[in-house]
């Protein structure tokens, strides 16, 4: 049934009113007649108050990163605005009639299953993270490890932007993040309930499993109790860590064999996710670790792979989040740290030699025998790994503990070449160089580097390549922040 809705600013929009619309915990969704917008009406119309409208106006206004500052948004430039436009499903308007609600854009087609049992349904994270559900996903859409890593980085980027703007999502969960692992994309939903610490408090405490332990621990306290914890930036960081862990390892980081209460399942859940939460891969406290020693037969299976298979950068972040920071919010890794760790791990990926491997990619582990953690297959043969060195002073290069695994068609961008560049929304994505395995040789091809210098000290002009040999030292750029790459072969 076609209906017309009125927005807060007076605009009108036609939509198709469905009798059985998709529903969430707080809203039901109808789509505009042109199919471009989603009209989300709150179940509880009492939520329509001045404070909420003011919050929504702020969200649509100066907090909106999908618009540039000149347009009244929060982004520095159009490039940044476009980046976050694809990352967030930001609120586009406030609906005041026929019901109170918010107007958002419809998700991209890539966030809906095209085939299989779930055809037409949106790609919630749960489909991909639960092993049983995952098996039901068509092969073409199940994605691979690289895709998950990329979408994790994008998600972390989104949260980083929110936190930098002074916002907190408050309900980051598997339901509120749509993912496209095939293309490494994700979209963050439910922007309407953003928290501005000290100004706009949270509507909800979150989604079970993603709520920070300190919130669960203090739920029994009164809302005005100073010890009561509410969703904020730090709780977002817990949710982010859980989500990343789930995406990459397909399991929950806190759900293990440990039984904290036999009184009731709810109590056990409250304690396990709250005050007695223990990371299942805790290096010293093995009480929650699944394995042969577990009494419950469903937890007899050993953890494989572990966080160590994700590389040193992610392992460090996970330990910081689930060991150091699980009960100490301030010790949790920030979104920026996650972005950095994920970006570095992306450079450590090795393509699996097994065509049928589920993960398709795995992380290179320095100093260890390389083996795919998903299928157990060894890589094809020796492949080059580049140790990056930065130059704190001209001519002096020091190892920055960052590596690039070279695989065929590995692309190099400015954040690989220059030590002062990060992979972010402002990055120049021009292809500067790439690695090719050609006729038995590994080559670094100069696509657009101005001052690539080969191991022998000769400049490598654009369009030419230099061989990657054991011990070769290649200056990627002679500019002040240019890096030195030292090549080693591993197998």
């Amino acid at each position: 049934m076609k209906k017309t809705a009125t927005l807060h600013d007076g605009r009108k929009i036609d939509y198709v009113h469905s009798d059985n619309p998709p529903k969430g915990g707080m809203k039901e969704v109808h789509f505009s007649t042109d199919g471009k917008f989603a009209l989300c009406f709150y179940h509880d119309q009492s939520l329509k108050d001045d404070n909420r409208i003011l919050r929504l106006e702020s969200i649509i206004g100066n907090f909106d990163p999908t618009k540039t500052r000149t347009d009244g948004g929060a982004s520095r430039d159009q490039k940044s605005a476009d980046y976050y436009y694809n990352l967030f499903n930001w609120v586009k308007g406030i609906i005041v009639a026929p019901k109170f609600g918010v107007l958002t854009e419809k998700f991209g087609a890539n966030y809906f299953f095209k085939t299989g049992r779930f055809k037409g349904k949106d790609k919630e994270s749960t489909w991909f993270t639960k092993p049983k559900l995952r098996k039901m996903i068509p092969n073409g859409e199940v994605g691979h490890f690289l895709g998950f890593l990329m979408l994790c980085r994008r998600m972390a980027m989104g949260l980083q932007k929110m936190h930098m703007t002074g916002l907190a999502h408050s309900d980051l969960s598997n339901k509120n993040v749509l993912i496209d692992p095939k293309n490494g994309l994700c979209q963050v939903l439910d922007i309407d309930s953003l928290v501005v610490p000290g100004i706009f408090s949270a509507d909800v405490v979150g989604t079970p499993g993603y709520i920070a332990p300190e919130i669960i621990r203090t739920t029994n306290l009164a809302t005005n109790d100073p010890k009561r914890e509410f969703p904020c930036n730090w709780t977002d960081l817990h949710s982010l860590s859980v989500l990343i862990y789930e995406y990459l390892l397909k399991r929950h980081p806190l759900r293990g064999p440990k039984v904290n209460s036999t009184a009731s399942a709810e109590e056990d859940e409250r304690l396990s996710m709250g005050e007695r939460a223990v990371f299942i891969e805790h290096p010293t406290d093995k009480s929650n670790r699944p394995g042969a020693s577990s009494r419950d037969p469903s937890w007899k299976r050993e953890l494989d792979p572990c966080i160590s298979a994700l590389g040193p950068h992610l392992e460090k972040c996970f330990l910081k989040s689930f060991v150091d920071g699980l009960h100490k919010p301030r010790s949790r890794p920030t979104a920026t740290m996650w972005v950095d760790a994920l970006a570095r791990t992306l450079d450590l990926l090795v393509p699996c030699s097994n065509q049928a491997c589920e993960g398709k990619w795995f992380v290179y582990l320095d100093g260890k025998k390389q083996k795919c953690p998903w299928c157990g297959k060894k890589p094809f043969g020796p492949f080059p790994v580049v140790d990056l060195h930065f130059a704190p002073r001209p001519g002096q290069y020091r190892n920055e503990g960052r590596q690039i695994v070279c695989h065929n068609e590995k692309k190099l961008h400015e954040w690989h070449i220059l030590s002062n560049k990060r992979m972010d929304e402002y990055s120049d994505t021009t292809l500067l160089g790439d690695i090719q395995f050609h006729q038995g040789h590994w080559l670094l091809i100069n696509r657009d580097l101005n001052s690539l210098v080969s191991d022998g000290g000769n400049p490598v002009p654009k369009g030419q390549a230099t061989k990657l040999k054991e011990g070769a030292e290649i200056i990627l750029s002679k500019s002040e922040k240019g890096r030195l790459a030292v090549v080693k072969f591993v197998s």
Binding site: N139, S353, Q355, A356, P379, F380, G381, P382, F383, H389, R393, P394, G395, Q396, Y397, R398, N399, N408, E409, D434, Q436, F437, H438, Q439, G440, H441, W442, L443, I445, R447, S454, D455, G456, G457, N458, P459, V460, P461, K462, G463, Q464, A465, T466, K467, L468, K469, A472, E473, I475, L484, V486, F489, S491
Partner: protein, 772 residues
């Protein structure tokens, strides 16, 4: 289970309807092929190792593969893979694939994807960098392809791993837009005179040698022109402007090249160049201020160094010209011992650095127009590393030819020289003639210290001056294994006649050896001279000194003549004679006895004509009736002169006055009335100065001789006598017949004479005289 196995095991209907019998389908990679199989061939999921690519593509369905095959994106011989496939399964083996397309895409046809002509697929073992990958990939799919247009030989600059992956597949860039090797010479030749040639930024480097034959400008855009050996770039004509260009000889070991081949930039004398940011690896020829031999390391690797301590290293360089030397590494200081040119010791000072630091940079040597670069690197090791070293001023590189010190020591060693040994050296730099020296020692800077010697006319050697240090590179040293005689002596004696003892000699041994042989030489050859001259006692002879006291040849025009009465040849071959003086009447009188110890230093002649003193000639008081031929003996000459005086009571003008100042000066300059030219004065003074030197420096042999001056006409005594006699002499040299106008006084006299000259006889006699 390979695809052929399925062909045998099952027959499935092709969905395309083209073939009736089709093999079992390719199993889904996610499923076990043994357990399940679909009846639809199109559902096969097959990965393809596409030729020219380095990865698996797919998985694709059969229909997709057929489509790709038709489009030429894949070749029928491309390898395929699926779960359970065998090595060497190929596209054309997939059931239902049209064979027509196989013919269409034969291995020699052009691939649409790569744009390259496929020649042959081989499984040669080239994957040495990736052995396991090859083991897997070789049979499966990456057939090695030899691409057309791909250079057979890797360019020398690629030896350190720069490669031109031209034609390597669609993922790899091409050398140029055309994909061909660019002929720089053609580009240069096409460039108009005074035109500008901008090198293609996509090419990067150009192979030489190339020649510029007209004034053009080349903008290199930091690209290189290279050749294995020089000259890489020759400029033949006009002014060439080179900008942002690198000119390189890629053969690092220059000792394998000839001198000509080490020249990277050769500018002919008819050409000039202007440079801007031009780097050269090799020598430069024809550029003012840039020539000379360069020897510097192609790269410097300081190795693994200890952390947190300072280091010092030394590098010996051969830099022919004044240069600026700098380094772009922070914390590395260069100190050049001699940046002016020549052999330079470069001190590399490195401050203490932390573990794991890698130093990478370049030492740039900048001369006026051209720069040279030396890559330098070092690694700061872990403090526990045993291999790490500390630089304590070690010389880490020196020219292969050696440093000056090595060179000098090598010379000394080769010549087996000891202190006070005599050797000869030829200044190759200045083109001087051979010189002799007494060896002293090699200095700690590699200079050869020696004492220069001079050789007297009797071939004896004596110390000439203070010790001097010579750069061994500028001289060619030879040990003396034979005696070297003064040129004047050697010329007339002939080297072959001298018995040559073998060297090397010490100074004393040399002189002893000379003494032993000089007598023989003189006796033998003076007797030869005597026999040739056939002089008799009392005959008047004319002689001129040909060699000065230094043994240098005196040009004929500068030789001064004198007259003597021959007495005899001594038993040692010396010519004994009496010096004669001519008075104003032309009469000759004996002055002193001369004993000329070396007759070969003199030009000898018997007197063929009469000669009058100059001043007499000026006054015109002497007139000779007729020319008289010699040789004369003293008495007959004087008699003749007396007869002439008696006959001519009245003075008669002589022939036109010709001055021969040089001759006069040589004869004693006794002419008060005639001005002595400056040259003669100088010569006289030099003779005066040199005389004691000659006397003092004579060898034992000389000292044995009576103290007869080598140039008798320069002695004080002689000169005073000559001046008192005021004799005049007519010069008989051809040049004395020049027609210079007489001075005013003479002119007056001549006018008078002209009046008196009216008589026929006078005219005839004069004519006859000059005709002679």
């Amino acid at each position: 289970m390979g695809i052929l196995d399925w062909l045998k095991s099952k027959k499935v209907t092709n969905t395309g309807g083209q073939t009736k019998k089709v093999a079992n389908k390719v199993p889904n990679p996610g499923k076990n092929p043994k357990k399940k199989s679909s009846s639809n061939v199109n559902s096969y999921k097959v990965g393809i190792w596409q030729g020219g690519e380095c990865k698996w593509v797919g998985p694709h369905t059969k229909a997709k593969i057929q489509e790709m095959l038709n489009d030429g994106d894949i070749s029928p011989k491309d390898l395929i893979s699926f779960k359970g496939s065998k090595y060497n399964d190929r596209v054309y083996q997939i059931p239902g694939i049209k064979l027509k397309s196989l013919k269409k895409a034969n291995p020699n046809s052009k691939s649409k994807a790569t744009g390259q002509k496929r020649t042959k697929t081989t499984n040669s073992k080239t994957n040495n960098a990736h052995p396991k990958a090859m083991k897997q990939a070789k049979p499966q799919g990456q057939p090695k392809k030899k691409m057309k247009g791909q250079p057979k030989k890797k360019s020398p600059t690629t030896s350190d791993s720069i490669v031109q992956p031209k034609g390597a597949g669609r993922h790899l860039p091409k050398a140029s837009s055309s994909g061909k090797i660019v002929d720089l010479q053609k580009l240069i030749d096409k460039t108009a005179s005074k035109g500008e040639l901008n090198l293609d930024a996509n090419v990067g480097e150009y192979q030489g040698p190339v020649t510029i034959r007209r004034p053009i400008k080349i903008v290199g855009k930091k690209h290189a022109i290279w050749s294995k050996k020089g000259p890489v770039l020759s400029v033949e004509k006009g002014e060439a402007v080179l900008q942002d260009l690198s000119i390189e000889i890629t053969q690092n070991d220059h000792s394998k090249l000839s001198e000509e081949e080490t020249v990277a930039l050769d500018v002919s004398p008819s050409a000039t160049i202007k440079t801007e940011k031009v780097f050269v690896r090799g020598n430069v020829k024809g550029v003012i201020g840039e020539e000379g031999t360069w020897d510097y390391p192609p790269a410097i690797n300081l190795g693994s160094l200890r952390p947190e301590v300072s280091h010092e290293f030394k590098i010996d360089l051969l830099i022919p010209i004044k240069c600026k030397i700098r380094c772009d590494i922070s914390g590395l200081i260069l100190k050049a011992s001699n940046a002016v040119g020549g052999s330079t010791t470069l001190t590399v000072l490195l401050e203490g650095m932390g573990t794991g630091t890698r130093l990478r940079g370049k030492i740039t040597i900048e001369s006026g127009m051209i720069s040279r670069q030396i890559p330098i690197n070092a690694n700061i090791a872990d403090s526990k590393s045993k291999k790490a070293i500390k630089g304590n001023g070690e010389v880490i590189w020196k020219p292969e030819k050696s440093t000056l010190l090595d060179l000098a020591n090598q010379i000394v060693k080769d010549l087996t020289l000891k202190k006070s040994d005599v050797f000869e050296f030829d200044s190759t730099a200045q083109g001087d003639s051979l010189e002799f020296a007494e060896f002293l020692e090699v200095s700690d800077k590699g200079m050869i210290k020696l004492r220069k010697l001079e050789q007297a006319t009797d071939a004896t050697l004596r110390v000439k001056g203070r010790p001097l240090s010579v750069c061994p590179e500028d001289y060619e040293f030879k040990k003396i294994d034979c005696l070297v005689l003064p040129m004047s002596l050697a010329k007339q004696v002939g080297w072959r006649d001298v018995k040559l003892p073998k060297g090397p000699f010490g100074l004393k041994a040399w002189n002893d050896a000379v003494e032993n042989i000089t007598c023989d030489v003189r006796v033998v050859h003076n007797k030869k001279l005597a026999g040739k001259m056939k002089w008799k006692a009392g005959e008047i002879i004319k002689f001129a000194k040909k060699v000065d006291s230094k043994g240098k040849w005196i040009p004929k025009k500068d030789q001064s003549f004198a007259y003597g009465e021959f007495e005899e040849f001594s038993n040692k071959g010396m010519i004994k004679l009496r010096n004669l003086e001519q008075d104003d009447t032309g009469k000759l009188s004996k002055v002193s006895r001369l004993n000329l110890f070396n007759p070969f230093d003199y030009a000898w002649d018997s007197i063929l004509r009469l000669e009058l003193p100059d001043d007499l000639d000026k006054k015109g008081v002497v007139y000779l009736q007729k020319a008289v031929k010699g040789p004369f003996v003293l008495n007959s000459w004087n008699q003749l002169m007396e007869d002439a005086n008696l006959k001519n009571n009245q003075p008669i003008t002589g022939p036109k006055k010709v001055k021969n100042r040089r001759l006069n000066a040589g004869l004693g300059e006794a002419f008060a009335s005639s001005p002595v030219p400056e040259e003669s004065k100088e010569q006289e003074s030099s003779l005066k100065q040199e005389k004691p030197k000659v006397d003092g420096g004579t060898s034992l042999k000389v000292q044995e001789q009576p103290s007869v001056p080598s140039e008798p006409h320069t002695t004080e005594k002689k000169r005073s006598k000559q001046s008192s006699l005021k004799t005049s002499v007519f010069s008989m040299n051809d040049e004395n017949k020049s027609k210079s106008p007489p001075p005013i006084k003479e002119k007056l006299n001549n006018d008078k004479i002209t009046k008196t000259k009216k008589s026929k006889t006078n005219k005839i006699e004069l004519k006859g005289f000059w005709n002679e």
